[in-house]
């Protein structure tokens, strides 16, 4: 499944909520959709989920236009909104059964489908509980289960981690990893950037309706930096290592921090490999060698200005 957001625009009068947004992602990817409040994230997600119509542009799911063929798109998309289910007098199982019916799943298959979703999202124990008696974390799981009930290829999740306790967040993260492993394409917005950075394969940063950065996480986190920062720790004398490193080509700077040496390395992945190979050849007993990446949080603060329209 390939999702292609094509020059999407959504204007409300003079306000450009979404202004020429384009990006793509595919099955198995988890794309973090990041931006300050009012940046246009929810509007973009609602358009992808066919709940809003763009002023211009379109979204294609394997070539199926959400504007032209919303009925076909409905079957491919699972949407988790930023608000939680609040139906009264209905149990978790009945709620999921209702949506399974709403997606046209026949009686013969429905029971099996709902039960497997309940099992997958760990809802079996609370299936007979009323929705309005559930905690936020449980409601969140129900919301995800509802979005999965028709086995969509694309999952659009708008702030699913908002207000969740640490345990619920960890469970959600694990769930997303499993779903991604199953080949679902996931677009997720969240303000908790550290967590996004842990699970996302790509990210799109948006502000005032326009994309500021988009790409694979490794790409956008390193794109703005002139060099790579690498942390090296060996069992040998750090002073010796420090001096040796300063003599190597591509090394722009080296700093000793306790038993570790931090170097600024010009060049790409090849240069990293060459440096590691040199250390091993030279007989250093390397126990740690890793690139220090700029965090998503740092990048977000650098590229956004916190402006709203």
């Amino acid at each position: 499944m390939h999702i292609h957001i094509d020059h999407l625009k959504k204007h409300y009068g003079r306000t450009r909520a979404v202004d020429d947004v384009s990006f793509s992602f595919s099955s198995g990817e988890i794309v973090g959709f990041v931006g300050p409040n009012g940046a246009g994230k929810s509007t973009t997600m609602r358009i992808i989920a066919t709940l809003d119509e763009p002023t211009s542009g379109d979204v294609y799911l394997d070539g199926i236009s959400v504007v032209e063929e919303p009925d076909k798109a409905h079957r491919l998309i699972g949407y988790v909104p930023d608000s939680l289910p609040s139906h009264r007098d209905i149990s978790v199982h009945e709620y999921l059964d209702f949506f399974a019916r709403a997606y046209g799943i026949g009686a013969a298959a429905r029971k099996k489908v709902v039960e497997s979703i309940e099992e997958f999202t760990n809802l079996l124990g609370i299936r007979e509980k009323h929705l309005n008696a559930l905690s936020k974390g449980m409601k969140n799981r129900v919301s995800v289960a509802r979005a999965l009930v028709h086995d969509p290829a694309v999952l659009i999740m708008d702030e699913p981690a908002a207000g969740l306790d640490p345990r619920a967040r960890i469970e959600l993260r694990e769930l997303l990893r499993v779903l991604s492993g199953q080949g679902k394409a996931i677009l997720i917005s969240s303000h908790i950037l550290t967590e996004l950075a842990e699970i996302c394969t790509a990210a799109v940063i948006i502000e005032r309706g326009r994309i500021l950065r988009a790409g694979s996480l490794s790409h956008i986190l390193t794109a703005d930096k002139p060099h790579r920062t690498i942390l090296i720790r060996t069992l040998d004398e750090p002073e010796l290592l420090h001096k040796d490193l300063l003599l190597q080509p591509n090394i722009e700077a080296a700093r000793r921090i306790d038993h570790t040496v931090e170097v600024d390395l010009a060049g790409g992945e090849e240069a990293c490999w060459e440096l590691l190979a040199h250390l091993v050849r030279s007989g250093y007993r390397v126990v740690e060698f890793h690139q220090q990446r700029a965090g998503l949080e740092e990048l977000f603060m650098n590229v956004t200005r916190g402006e709203v329209q």
């Binding site: 390939h2 066919t50 294609y60 032209e68 139906h87 009686a107 013969a108 950065r213 790409g215």
Partner: protein, 530 residues
């Protein structure tokens, strides 16, 4: 027990909303408490009447006991149904419509029509449940004398239709997207409607019971009136159903198309019913009632039409034919402000002109019993309707013109109706302080020139229709001239706005090719600020 394939097939045919609503109703403490209370009250009243009724009147045999108890039981049935079911359906939909629940239904395979139909069907099941709980008690009244089975059935049918109408009205009000304050206002309006429906239905059915429906069942007149009433009630339920579907449909959908098509059908069917009644009974009133009701409906629709979209999204535009001749009628029917205005003006003109013309020139066929008073009554009726239509047109078009020319984009198109209502309120109230300041003496003496209050529709219509003097006639002519002239000016003022919409109402220039599967770029390849 394992369900059979037949059970599965039947299960698949059920509307999911009905299943959900009924599951919720069964678990709802309110519904169950009301049902139990209803049964207890009915049983108590029947027992009390049986135990003490005859002793109080002092009669050995009360020949009206059945009818008297039936009236009480019917009141309880109607009261319970009208208080519980419409409120339950309306409040639940309003609560669901306020968050994302309804939105989520739209990304399922359910259609807006299915959602509203499900709500109505679930309510029908609840109505039938309560009616069936009441049936044994009502049948028992037959044994107590004073009422016959056909009368019981007819009153129950009438009650059922009225409860259904009230429920659909409540669903419609519940579907209206509004903030808490407006929802509260709509709730109070709905409650007022329910009370008035309850009062009028009870009054009507008590009168029918006293007159004795059973003896009239073989008359054509009875069935003609009953049939006409049923058609009108069902058509009104259908109209509100269509409105509700349009309201819950996504904004990008062509929401007005089914409403306008239904409106045309409603106009034709109810007009035909009114014509048949007028022709059969040789009285003009069915046509007058039809004209008045339709003009009121069109005025309300006009207030909605001025808020509609002025441009169309790709989803709608791609359904338009390339031929201009085919697009013409669609412009009137598709969602869109200018098209709606034109259609409603056309319908209003026909609504006023056709019956007035028929009553004027074919009075022998329609009104032999109505005699020479027909012409004057006809003139007054037509005049009143023309004035109502002109005032609505002028105030609404003034709002459109102001929004477009003076307040462009400061007021959302969707809020034009508020501007129209403000203008109407100003027109109604402003003449009074002005007259108080500048013509105080004349105001106290009651010698104000009625033209000074021409912005007040009530004053104008009252003077024109109720006062038969020659002065009033002159005033009327002046009013028609001024209001008609203003309407024409406003139409000309809004003409560029309408023409822009006509120009936009066309299919896209060329079909955008869909990118193939596995598109050309991944996130990493997108330029910053794209």
């Amino acid at each position: 027990m394992k369900p059979t394939p037949l059970v599965d097939k039947l299960d698949n045919l059920l509307n999911p909303i009905v299943v959900k609503e009924l599951r919720q109703a069964v678990k709802s403490r309110i519904v169950m408490s009301a049902l139990m209370l209803f049964l207890v009250i009915q049983l108590s009243i029947l027992l009390l009447n049986l135990s003490f009724g005859d002793r109080q009147t002092g009669n050995a045999i009360n020949l009206h006991a059945g009818r008297e108890i039936f009236q009480i039981l019917q009141g309880i049935l109607l009261g319970t149904c009208m208080l519980l079911i419409p409120t339950y359906a309306g409040v639940r939909l309003a609560a669901e419509h306020s968050d994302t629940n309804v939105d989520l239904l739209f990304i399922s395979t359910l259609r807006p029509r299915g959602i509203i139909a499900g709500k109505l069907q679930a309510s029908v099941v609840l109505i039938l449940l309560i009616f069936s709980a009441c049936a044994p008690f009502m049948t028992f009244t037959y044994l107590l004398r004073g009422i016959d089975i056909p009368t019981i059935l007819l009153v129950l049918v009438l009650d059922f239709l009225v409860v259904l109408l009230s429920t659909q009205a409540a669903i419609f009000l519940g579907a209206v997207p509004a903030n808490t304050g407006l929802k509260l206002l709509l709730g109070l309006t709905g409650l007022g409607l329910l009370v008035s429906f309850f009062g009028s239905t009870m009054g009507f059915s008590i009168e029918m019971l006293d007159l004795g429906l059973g003896s009239r069942l073989d008359s054509v007149e009875f069935w003609l009136i009953a049939g006409a009433a049923a058609i009108v009630i069902l058509a009104t339920i259908g109209l509100m159903f269509t409105w509700s579907v349009a309201i819950v449909s996504p904004p990008s959908a062509n929401r007005a198309l089914p409403v306008r098509l239904y409106l045309l059908g409603f106009w034709l069917v109810t007009g035909a019913v009114a014509a048949v009644l007028a022709r059969y009974f040789h009285i003009p009133f069915p046509l007058y009632i039809w004209q008045s009701a339709i003009i009121a409906l069109l005025c309300a629709q006009f207030l909605v039409a001025i808020n509609e979209r002025q441009q169309w999204g790709l989803r709608v535009r791609r359904t338009l034919p390339r031929s201009r001749w085919l697009r013409g009628p669609l412009f009137l029917l598709y969602s869109g402000s200018a098209g709606g205005i034109l259609l409603l003006v056309l319908l209003a003109a026909l609504t006023i002109a056709l019956p007035s013309y028929a009553l004027e020139y074919w009075s022998a066929a329609f009104l032999p019993a109505f005699g020479r008073f027909a012409a004057e009554t006809n003139r007054r009726q037509t005049l009143a309707l023309v004035l109502i239509a002109l005032y609505t047109f002028d105030y609404c078009m003034l709002a459109v013109w102001l929004r477009n020319v003076l307040l462009y984009e400061r007021i959302k198109a969707a809020n034009t109706w508020v501007l129209a209502l403000i203008l109407w309120a100003l027109g109604f109230s402003l003449p009074w302080p002005i007259l108080f300041l500048f013509q105080n003496e004349e105001l106290r003496m009651g010698q104000i020139d009625p033209l000074c209050q021409i912005s007040n529709p009530f004053s104008t219509i009252f003077t024109c229709v109720m006062e038969p003097s020659a002065n009033a006639q002159n005033f009327c002519d002046a009013c028609l001239l001024i209001l008609g002239g203003l309407g024409l000016l406003l139409l000309l003022g809004c003409l560029p706005w309408m023409v822009r919409q006509v120009n936009r109402f066309r299919p896209p220039e060329k079909d955008t090719p869909y990118p193939a599967s596995g598109g050309s770029y991944a996130p990493g390849e997108i330029e910053p600020g794209a």
